[in-house]
C-alpha cells in the first residue's frame, strides 16, 4: 500500500521518522499557546533579583524597575547569588556593576540615585575597578565626588 496512493491513510514509520522532529517542537508551541491563553507565562520565567544581582547581570530594565517602582535603596549592600560575581555574596549595586565591568549600569545607577561615597570608600570602589580591569568604569567613577585620582594607591587586590 503506498502512502499517497489510493486508499492510503496514514504515514509509514519511515515517513514519520523522516518528518517527525518538528512535531516535537509543536508540543512546545501548543504549551505556549495554551499557557498564554490561560494567562500563564510559559518559557518566560523571570527570577527575582536583588538590585545588586540585577546590576551584575547587566539588567538595566530590572535595575530601573527596582529603584523607580519598588523604591529599593541603591546605596546599601544586597545579597548576590553564588556564581554571579564569583565568590562575592553581598555587594552594593555600584560594587556589583564595577565587578561586572558594566559602565552603562554604573552610569544608570548614578542617574537613578546611587552615590559614590566620599573618601576611602570612593578610593576602594575605584581600585575595585582597576583590579577588575574595567577602564571605562574607572573613567566614569573618577568624575564623581572630589574628582581626585586614587589609582596610585591601588596596590593590593580588593575582594
Amino acid at each position: 500500500m503506498t502512502a499517497n496512493g489510493a486508499g492510503a491513510a496514514w504515514p509509514s514509520a519511515l515517513q514519520l521518522v523522516a518528518a517527525g522532529a518538528p512535531l516535537v517542537a509543536f508540543l512546545g508551541s501548543l504549551a505556549i499557546v495554551a499557557g498564554w491563553a490561560a494567562g500563564a507565562s510559559p518559557f518566560w520565567s523571570v527570577p527575582t533579583l536583588t538590585l545588586s544581582e540585577a546590576a551584575a547581570a547587566r539588567d538595566a530594565g530590572e535595575v530601573t524597575r527596582l529603584i523607580e517602582r519598588e523604591h529599593v535603596d541603591p546605596n546599601r549592600a544586597w545579597p548576590v547569588r553564588a556564581g554571579l560575581l564569583d565568590a562575592v555574596r553581598s555587594a552594593t549595586p555600584l560594587e556589583a556593576a564595577v565587578r561586572a565591568r558594566r559602565p552603562e549600569i554604573v552610569g544608570l545607577l548614578l542617574r537613578l540615585g546611587a552615590v559614590v561615597p566620599d573618601g576611602p570608600p570612593r578610593a576602594a570602589l575605584i581600585c575595585l575597578g582597576v583590579h577588575s580591569a574595567a577602564d571605562d568604569v574607572v573613567t566614569l567613577l573618577l568624575e564623581t565626588g572630589d574628582r581626585s585620582d586614587p589609582r596610585g594607591g591601588c596596590t593590593a587586590r580588593i575582594d
Binding site: 515517513q15 518528518a19 527570577p47
Partner: protein, 485 residues
C-alpha cells in the same frame, strides 16, 4: 508531492486535513507571536518613526516621503500613522497585535500554497513551517520590534501575490494583485518583488491573476521607475547610507567609500552574489562569511555550522527534486510543484538584485520564504517516495538524512524563540538609556511636548514589562541557537 487527490480515512477528509494544516500553522505562529508580544517596542528606529508620525499629518507625511533622496517609501510611515492615530494611546497593544497577526497570516498564506489532502501531505507542513520561521532570513521580521515590521509586510505581500496567482482567475484577484503591488512598491523597495512573483507565476503557468492584470502591474512598475529616476529625483541609495558586510567583517560607510567609491559595481555585484548564497547556504550572513571566518581562526560556533548545514541540506533537497523532474519536463509535463520551483528561483534572483545597495539577511526574507516553499515541495516528494519504496540501504540512508534535516530545522525554529526572548531583554534595556533630546529621541520636547509624553509612556511600559534575563540561561544554549544577522 503528488497532486493526485487522496481521500484517506473517512474520518479525515481532504478538507479536514487542510483545516488541520492551517490550525497547525496558527499554533506555531502564535507560539512565535507570544515571544513577539513579550518584547517592548524598539527604542531606536521605531521611536523615531512614531515621533515622526505623531507630529506630522498623514498628507504631509506622504508628500515628504515622495521627495527624500535614496529611498522611495511613502507608505512606510503612513502604515504606522493610521494605527498610531487609531490606537488612542494604546500603542504597545495595537502594534503588537498587528505584528502577531502578521506572523499568523504569513503562516496561513504559506500553508495555503500547498495541497494538504492526507496525512502524508500533512507531514510536510511542520517541516515547511520550520523552514519558513527558522530561517535566518526570517528572523529579522520578528526580532526587530518596529511598530510595523516592513520586512514582514513585504513577505506577506509576496505570499499573498502567490496565493492570488494560484487557482482560478477572477476580477477581484486582478484588482487585488494590482493594489498589492502598488502598496508594496510604495512601502519599501523590496515591495517590487510582488511584480516578480506575479510575473514569474504567470510565466510558470499560473492563471489566477490574468495577463491583463499583469500588464497593468507592469505598467505600474514602469511608472514607478520613471518617477523614481525622473521627476522625483529619488535615485538609488548611495554608499554613505548604511554599513554593509564584506568578506569577514562589516564595513562602515567611510570604509565603503574608501574601497568602492570609484567603482561601486564590484561592491554591488558582491552584495547580489552574497544575498543569493545566504538564501541557499546561510553563508555569508549579511555579507559576512561568519562560519568561514570561524573555521579559519578555529573559533567557530555550532550554531553557525548548524545554520549552514540545514540550509545547504534544504537546497540540496531542492536540487534533487529538480533533477528528478528533468525527464518529466522533457516530456513537456509540468506539475504545480515545478511551477513553484520556477517562481522561487525568480524570487531569489529578483530579491538579490533589489538588495544590491547593502546586505542584510532580512532583506531576502521574501526569497527565503519561497526557498522554504521549494524545499517543502521537495520534502513532500521525498516523503511520498519513502512510502512507495521497499526498505534497502539507500532508502535507510535517505530516511536518516531527511530526519537529520528535519531535526536541524527544528533546532533553528526553537532557536528563533530563544533569540526573541533575548531580544526582548536587550530592547527593554535600551529603553532605560533613552533620554529626550538625545539619540535616538532627538526631539525638542519644549516645542513638541506630546513627543516627550510619548517617550515617557513607552519607557514606562518597558520598565513595567518583566523579561527573562539570558544571563541565567545555560551558557551552551547561546552557542546552539543562531543570532539574527
Amino acid at each position: 508531492m503528488s497532486d493526485a487527490v487522496t481521500t484517506g480515512a473517512p474520518f479525515a477528509s481532504p478538507r479536514r486535513w487542510r483545516l488541520a494544516a492551517h490550525a497547525y500553522a496558527v499554533v506555531v505562529a502564535l507560539g512565535i507571536g507570544y515571544f513577539v508580544a513579550g518584547s517592548p517596542l524598539q527604542a531606536s528606529e521605531a521611536l523615531r518613526n512614531m515621533m515622526a508620525v505623531q507630529r506630522t499629518g498623514l498628507y504631509e507625511l506622504l508628500v515628504s516621503q515622495f521627495t527624500q533622496g535614496g529611498f522611495l517609501r511613502p507608505l512606510l510611515l503612513a502604515q504606522i500613522d493610521v494605527p498610531f492615530e487609531l490606537a488612542q494611546g494604546r500603542y504597545f497593544e495595537v502594534f503588537k497585535a498587528i505584528h502577531v497577526a502578521q506572523v499568523v497570516l504569513a503562516a496561513m498564506l504559506f500553508v495555503n500554497l500547498r495541497p494538504v489532502r492526507n496525512a502524508v501531505e500533512m507531514l510536510s507542513v511542520p517541516f515547511g513551517l520550520a523552514l519558513l520561521f527558522g530561517s535566518h532570513t526570517f528572523a529579522g521580521t520578528v526580532t526587530e520590534a518596529f511598530p510595523i515590521n516592513t520586512f514582514l509586510t513585504i513577505v506577506l505581500c509576496c505570499l499573498a501575490a502567490a496565493n492570488l496567482a494560484q487557482g482560478l482567475p477572477s476580477r477581484w484577484k486582478d484588482a487585488a494583485a494590482v493594489t498589492l503591488f502598488v502598496v508594496a512598491a510604495l512601502t519599501v523597495e523590496t515591495g517590487l518583488l510582488v511584480w516578480v512573483c506575479l510575473a514569474a507565476a504567470w510565466i510558470a503557468g499560473f492563471r489566477g491573476v490574468s495577463g491583463r492584470a499583469l500588464l497593468v502591474t507592469t505598467a505600474a512598475l514602469a511608472a514607478y521607475m520613471v518617477l523614481r529616476f525622473g521627476p522625483l529625483h529619488v535615485g538609488a541609495p548611495a554608499l554613505v547610507e548604511r554599513s554593509s558586510g564584506f568578506g569577514f567583517r562589516v564595513l562602515d560607510p567611510p570604509e565603503l567609500i574608501a574601497r568602492f567609491g570609484d567603482n561601486p559595481l564590484l561592491f554591488y555585484a558582491y552584495n547580489v552574489a552574497a544575498q543569493v548564497l545566504t538564501v541557499l547556504f546561510a553563508e555569508p550572513k549579511a555579507g559576512v562569511w561568519v562560519l568561514a571566518r570561524g573555521l579559519s581562526t578555529g573559533d567557530w560556533l555550532l550554531r553557525d555550522l548548524l545554520g549552514v548545514a540545514a540550509t545547504t541540506g534544504a537546497t540540496v533537497l531542492i536540487g534533487w527534486y529538480a533533477a528528478s523532474r528533468v525527464p518529466v519536463w522533457r516530456r513537456g509535463e509540468v506539475a504545480e510543484g515545478d511551477r513553484w520551483l520556477f517562481v522561487a528561483a525568480a524570487m531569489l534572483a529578483g530579491n538579490a538584485v533589489v538588495s544590491y545597495p547593502y546586505t542584510k539577511s532580512v532583506i531576502v526574507s521574501p526569497a527565503g520564504a519561497f526557498h522554504a516553499l521549494a524545499a517543502v515541495i521537495a520534502f513532500g516528494t521525498a516523503l511520498e517516495r519513502l512510502g512507495r519504496a521497499r526498505l534497502r540501504p539507500a532508502l535507510a540512508l535517505a530516511v536518516v538524512l531527511l530526519a537529520a534535516l528535519s531535526a536541524a530545522w527544528t533546532v533553528r525554529l526553537v532557536g528563533l524563540h530563544y533569540r526573541l526572548r533575548e531580544k526582548a531583554f536587550l530592547t527593554r534595556n535600551d529603553w532605560m538609556f533613552v533620554t529626550a533630546g538625545r539619540p535616538p529621541a532627538e526631539v525638542d520636547v519644549r516645542r513638541y511636548p506630546a513627543a516627550g509624553r510619548l517617550i515617557g509612556q513607552l519607557r514606562e511600559e518597558a520598565v513595567s514589562i518583566r523579561v527573562p534575563n539570558p544571563v541565567f540561561d545555560p551558557p551552551r544554549v547561546s552557542r546552539v541557537f543562531e543570532e539574527a544577522w
